[in-house]
């Protein structure tokens, strides 16, 4: 408490040695998670465009590094809250493709038995307190989970994922303030993908870094390249350790970009084509794979195999979802206190 705000800037233009501080198993884990998110999001988009999935879909293509790296710093019983763009977070926290797909299809075998859908996947057994359709709403909830962890002396940490847009919500400011006052074990991870739906960051706030908001609450604010999983990992590890050891909350901004529009079907004509092209050249997965190749952590064939294995699992998951029973109409009345 009363901690002086500081800011760590990590331009991360040159690739650091991947094996400096993280071991090979961790690199493989982060890589596999990024591949899982990438492949899932691509297939989900195809299925949605083919008309197989009800509702609507918010894709996190292009943002895979953040959840993969942040969740690699967490324990199984740590908590996360997620957002409408939440598939990446819950995959990174360890959720299964089959039950996720079944939820996207609105089937009884889905994580939420078809009551939540794409935007609301939760698995309390893995600390996933739910993706949330109200922008910013997960932030106080993660803060409350951190309060609970602190009161139960459980050693758990809570992570709230949210976008740049959410940081203009009162819920963000109220939660960050109370977490600071109570010194809670929570990490606020802002995926700054530069747009709140169609509104670019300069039209949302006068500051250039979301991390600057931390100073108002006396919290450390850190800004990193969100397309560099190792930069994210290092910053997240420090923040999670701080939280777990009683040092209180951190605001971690990860600068990234969403490749698709706000939702699948959004023409996203509010973004210059050159900007999209520039960011796609900075594909977090391709860049990471290049580093893994250059530093001989994985061979081209091994990388290929990871993608193939994940795709295979994905096709099985889609089959599982298609074959699963649809809910009965009156199932709508279950799972509900009367």
């Amino acid at each position: 408490m009363g901690r002086k705000g500081f800011r760590v800037s990590s331009p991360s233009t040159s690739a650091p040695e991947v094996t400096n501080s993280v071991d090979r198993a961790l690199l493989l884990r982060i890589h596999r998670t990024m591949v899982r998110i990438r492949e899932f999001e691509q297939r989900a988009m195809e299925l949605f465009l083919s008309g197989e999935l009800p509702g609507f879909l918010h894709s996190c293509l292009g943002q895979e590094a953040v959840p993969a790296a942040v969740c690699a710093t967490l324990r199984e019983n740590d908590y996360i809250t997620s957002t409408h763009r939440g598939h990446g977070h819950v995959i990174a926290k360890g959720l299964r493709f089959d039950r996720m797909m079944a939820e996207l299809y609105g089937k009884t075998t889905g994580y939420c038995k078809g009551k939540g859908g794409s935007m609301h996947i939760a698995d309390f057994s893995l600390g996933v307190l739910g993706a949330n359709g109200i922008v910013g709403a997960g932030i106080p909830i993660a803060t409350g989970a951190a309060l609970s962890a602190q009161m139960r002396r459980s050693g758990q940490v809570a992570v709230a994922f949210f976008g740049d847009g959410a940081t203009s919500q009162g819920s963000f400011h109220e939660a960050a303030n109370v977490a600071a006052v109570w010194n809670l074990p929570v990490v606020y991870v802002c995926e700054n993908n530069r747009y709140a739906v169609s509104t670019p960051v300069p039209r949302q706030m006068r500051i250039t870094s979301v991390a600057d908001r931390a100073a108002a609450y006396g919290l450390p604010g850190v800004s990193v390249d969100g397309n560099d999983p190792l930069a994210v990992y290092e910053a997240a590890r420090e923040a999670v350790e701080r939280a777990r050891s009683g040092g209180g909350p951190t605001l971690l901004e990860c600068r990234t970009y969403r490749w698709m529009g706000h939702y699948i079907g959004d023409p996203a004509n509010y973004r210059p084509a050159e900007e999209v092209a520039w960011w796609k050249q900075r594909d977090p997965l391709v860049l990471f794979e290049q580093r893994l190749l250059e530093q001989e952590v994985l061979s081209g064939g091994e990388i290929q195999r990871v993608h193939e294995q994940v795709r295979e699992e994905l096709e099985d998951a889609i089959e599982f979802a298609r074959r699963s029973p649809a809910p009965a109409p009156e199932d709508a009345l279950e799972d509900f206190p009367q």
């Binding site: 908590y79 809250t81 889905g110 994580y111 939420c112 038995k113 078809g114 009551k115 939540g116 609301h120 939760a122 698995d123 309390f124 057994s125 307190l129 739910g130 949330n132 359709g133 109200i134 709403a137 932030i139 106080p140 909830i141 993660a142 803060t143 409350g144 989970a145 951190a146 309060l147 609970s148 962890a149 009161m151 139960r152 809570a158 009162g170 819920s171 109220e174 939660a175 303030n177 109370v178 006052v181 279950e334 799972d335 509900f336 206190p337 009367q338």
Partner: protein, 324 residues
């Protein structure tokens, strides 16, 4: 039985539940050393300490939101929203989160949280400190709503609310904190969804919420002098609502008055009247009457304030009209 104040009954309920279950904790503005704006938590800070009687910043969304997060992860918070008017700032967490997340997750979790608040006019607090907004929360599936009118009910209902595994909005009345009533020294709980027949009568049913129960009793006294026997029913919880007790009463009396301070339009009275019409239309000798808050903001000056919220005399007049 001993005579205690409403605020004391609330305090006793909180104390008993906190002693019984260490997962129960309180959070809210000025509830600690200060003892709460209406002194409902006085003395609890001294017994349970600052961790479990937790003062918060002036931050209703954070109070409600952290309570929801804590409730999902093994705690049983009792969050205080100082005035129900301030619930506006916390409504996303109450309406979109607390009420829905158990359901939206397919029943993976429960959210045992109590939002304690108080409402009501009558002390010149003006339009932002005097509203009765129970209809707002009663409208939302997933929230239970309790409004104790007496010290006995305050204690028994609050203990039930704390033990309930789903979110409860617990609405006290600011002019009842100093009300006195008999409370059993033995431990007791009052189940939700069981109305109390506060007074029996054969001529007209008055369904009254919160402080209006007291005014309905006053009106019933006055009516009795004219030979009109009013039956006064306090639903105690509007979600769940004890429709059966209300309908049974109307089948006997054939006349219905619903009264609350909350705005008439789309208020709980409309729901009660609709339930009675659906279940017992043919028992009604006259159309149901709503004697509720007028559809204007609550004004400051006492003379105007008394005019916009229902009074015992309004109830007596409505009953006489129904008897004609």
């Amino acid at each position: 039985m001993s005579q205690i104040f409403y605020r004391q009954a609330l305090r006793d309920a909180l104390r008993e539940e906190m002693r019984r279950d260490e997962r129960v904790f309180l959070l809210g503005l000025d509830i600690g050393r200060f003892g709460g704006t209406y002194k409902a938590t006085q003395g609890l800070f001294e017994e349970f300490g600052e961790e479990r009687v937790r003062d918060t910043p002036l931050s209703e969304a954070a109070i409600a939101g952290t309570a929801v997060g804590a409730a999902m992860t093994g705690m049983r918070p009792v969050a205080e929203i100082m005035y129900m008017d301030f619930i506006t700032i916390a409504l996303d967490q109450i309406v979109n989160q607390a009420a829905k997340l158990a359901y939206m997750s397919g029943g993976q979790t429960s959210i045992p949280v109590v939002f304690r608040t108080q409402e009501g006019a009558g002390r010149s607090s003006a339009a932002q400190h005097a509203q009765s907004l129970e209809a707002w929360v009663a409208h939302i599936p997933g929230l239970k709503v309790a409004l104790p009118a007496t010290p006995y009910d305050a204690k028994g209902l609050l203990k039930t609310a704390i033990r309930d595994d789903s979110p409860v909005v617990f609405i006290e009345h600011k002019l009842l904190y100093a009300a006195k009533g008999e409370v059993s020294e033995e431990e007791y709980l009052i189940p939700f969804g069981q109305a109390r027949v506060a007074r029996e009568g054969r001529d007209v049913t008055i369904v009254a919420l919160s402080r209006m129960v007291w005014k309905a009793m006053e009106a019933a006294e006055e009516l009795a002098r004219d030979g009109i026997q009013a039956e006064v029913i306090d639903p105690r919880t509007v979600v769940p609502l004890d429709v059966e007790t209300i309908v049974r009463s109307v089948q006997k009396t054939g006349r219905l008055i619903v009264t609350h301070e909350g705005y008439t339009r789309c208020g709980v009275g409309a729901e009660v009247a609709a339930q009675v019409v659906e279940h017992a239309m043919h028992a009604l000798k006259k159309p149901p009457r709503r004697v509720c808050g007028r559809n204007v903001p609550v004004p400051f000056a006492p003379v105007m304030e008394n005019y916009v919220i229902p009074q015992a005399a309004d109830l007596a007049r409505a009953a006489r009209e129904l008897m004609q």
